[in-house]
Amino acid sequence: MAGLARYLLLRALLIIPTVLILYTLVFVIMRVIPGDPVQAALGTRYVPPEQLELLRERHGLNDPLYVQYFEYLAGVVRFDFGESLVIEGRKIADDIKDRFPATLELTIASFIVSVGIGMATGILAAVRRGSKLDTAMRVYSIVAYTLFIPWLGSILIMIFSLWLGLLPTHGRLDPRISLEHKTGLYVLDAILTQNWVALKDALAHLVLPALTLGIVLSGAYTRLVRANLSEALVSDFVRAYRARGVRERRILLHALRNSLIPVVTMMGLQMAILLGGAVLTETTFSWPGMGSYLLEKVEARDYTAVQGVVVFFSFMVGLISLIVDAIYALIDPRIRY
């Protein structure tokens, strides 16, 4: 296990250069874009030049570039991403603290849905390869993959909210229900505070967005699991298991584990993308997450906010890839660098 610990430590250290490179890129791009950030943030409003100068000074935009670079970096280490250019005194880190839990909650829920559906359909297709069921699963995967999120979301809202009246149409929680926010993940908060009314309501709000996003993402898993598992099922070691009289159900599990590496890779990629915010899902269901936040800030030309979000996101990507690497090592004993 010493090998594994060393491997994971190395992987963890690799996050640092990853984030640094991303931060540098964003920093450079932000400075290369033509136009004055302060003027852009204020839009067409007339502001006296002295006041513009004051704002620039306040945000450190008059400092030499290398000073700006390192000062921002020093802030990032303390989870300080600077202040909003648009809203006076508003800390970007606070915005992220507000919005990120919503994204995380939606990510986890839709991840469970997509992996659940994708694995189940993919396994069925691989085990019954060449049958009608296989064809049905493949058609499902293509249809799911090509669905447009706002369209699917609207259809689901129409059925479950408008016609059946079972589920709410938007938001995370009925405003009449009070809930103490400990983590910002409403489902978790409700469980922690044993607030069962809030739990039921938070879950009800989560169902449709998670289902919409989960279904669309599941199609890719179906295909990937089907392809890799059906290959594993005809491999030599499966035949050798059979030759030793091992039960088919157990063989299926061993084959599945052997086909999991590419699936875990895709899980990591998807998770990383989802943590950056699922813009379409969030706007369809008025879900106050990172995706809609980034959209608002880009529209408002709030440069520091955009920069902060991207740097934060690069941390998340690094973290996810560390988790993926750890899972690789758990699955495959040959992976120990």
């Binding site: 070691f237 035949r239 050798a240 298991y241 059979r242 030759a243 030793r244 009289g245 039960r247």
Partner: protein, 316 residues
């Protein structure tokens, strides 16, 4: 009584381009403790025939007729689960490529213990692990290697592990499908010696599938020669090698390289036929230098000569 009797076995592959008969009217008998080698070129049907015995045909392969009588029971009529119980306990199988025949993600011991527990051959996992390490010792691998993953072993060691897995429950029959093809010559010899000594110690029967008739000559009691899905000759190893009856067997022996004979290597003219569209009459006749009139039109019937069998018009 014979351990294994194959009677008129036919195996078809249903392919998109039509039905392909991979094994045609095969009949064989294997006695207790006997070593039979099935020799033939790639695609002759030898592996298909051997894999059909323990029910390990890969789809779309299917037994269409015939019987496989093992210890008095017909294996072709058995349910999947009945066959599963026989595999690994009464019939062991060793495959061609030891590099891909072990699950790369699990230790040797885990894979062995699982099979032992499936056959309820041990009362506890610990007992099963002791059996596994004893089985490794019996093939010349230190017992503590049960903790190893396949990638930590060499090719030759892995084939020994595969053999240990195949014989650990003391099967009556071991099927070895080209067990040394993927290994170098030195390791090859040691693996064959190992199989021979295990056979003697345990008194089991062996079916060896090989394209190497010289190798078969060294180790076997009997040899069966297959050509284009048919068994063309079968008999005691010495007799088949010393005085082959079928022209194909003769050609096969002639095309074996020999270090001490200085001459260019003989090769059989032409190519093996397409099994979807085999030649009329005797399937070997287009390549046979002894072919005469009936060979083109009539299929030769298997003829018994003492305890040998040959399917050729020269003898019937």
């Amino acid at each position: 009584m014979a351990l294994l009797r194959i009677e008129d076995l036919n195996i078809d592959y249903m392919t998109l381009r039509g039905r392909l008969r991979a094994v045609k009217n095969a009949s064989l008998t294997l006695g207790e403790g006997e070593w039979l080698s099935i020799v033939g070129e790639s695609g002759s049907g030898k592996s298909t025939l051997a894999m059909a015995i323990p029910g390990l045909l890969l789809p779309p392969g299917r037994i269409t007729s015939g019987r496989i009588i093992f210890q008095g029971r017909d294996l072709t009529g058995m349910s999947g689960d009945e066959l599963r119980r026989i595999r690994g306990s009464e019939i062991g199988v060793v495959f061609q490529d030891p590099l891909t025949s072990l699950d790369p993600l699990r230790t040797i011991g885990d894979q062995m213990v699982e099979a032992i527990m499936e056959h309820r051959a041990a009362g506890s996992k610990r007992e099963a692990l002791e059996m596994a390490s004893a089985a490794l010792e019996s093939v010349g691998i230190p017992g503590n290697r049960v903790k190893y993953y396949p990638h930590q072993l060499s090719g030759g060691q892995r084939q020994r592990v595969m053999i240990a897995m195949a014989v650990m429950l003391k099967p009556r029959l071991l099927i070895a499908d080209e067990p040394t093809t993927a290994l170098d010559v030195i390791v090859q010899a040691s693996i064959m010696r190992l199989l021979k000594s295990l056979q003697r110690k345990m008194g089991m029967s062996i079916i060896l599938i090989t394209h190497d008739i010289a190798l078969a000559a060294e180790v076997s009691d009997r040899i069966a020669v297959m050509y284009a899905a048919e068994i063309v000759e079968e008999g005691p190893a010495e007799q088949v090698i010393e005085e082959p009856l079928h022209p194909y067997t003769e050609a096969l022996i002639k095309s074996t390289p020999d270090l001490w004979r200085e001459k260019t290597l003989y090769s059989i003219p032409g190519n093996p036929p397409d099994l979807r569209n085999p030649p009329s009459g005797c399937r070997f006749h287009p390549r046979c230098h002894k072919a005469f009139e009936p060979c083109k039109s009539r299929e030769p019937r298997p003829t018994r000569i003492r305890d040998r069998m040959v399917a050729c018009h020269l003898y019937g």
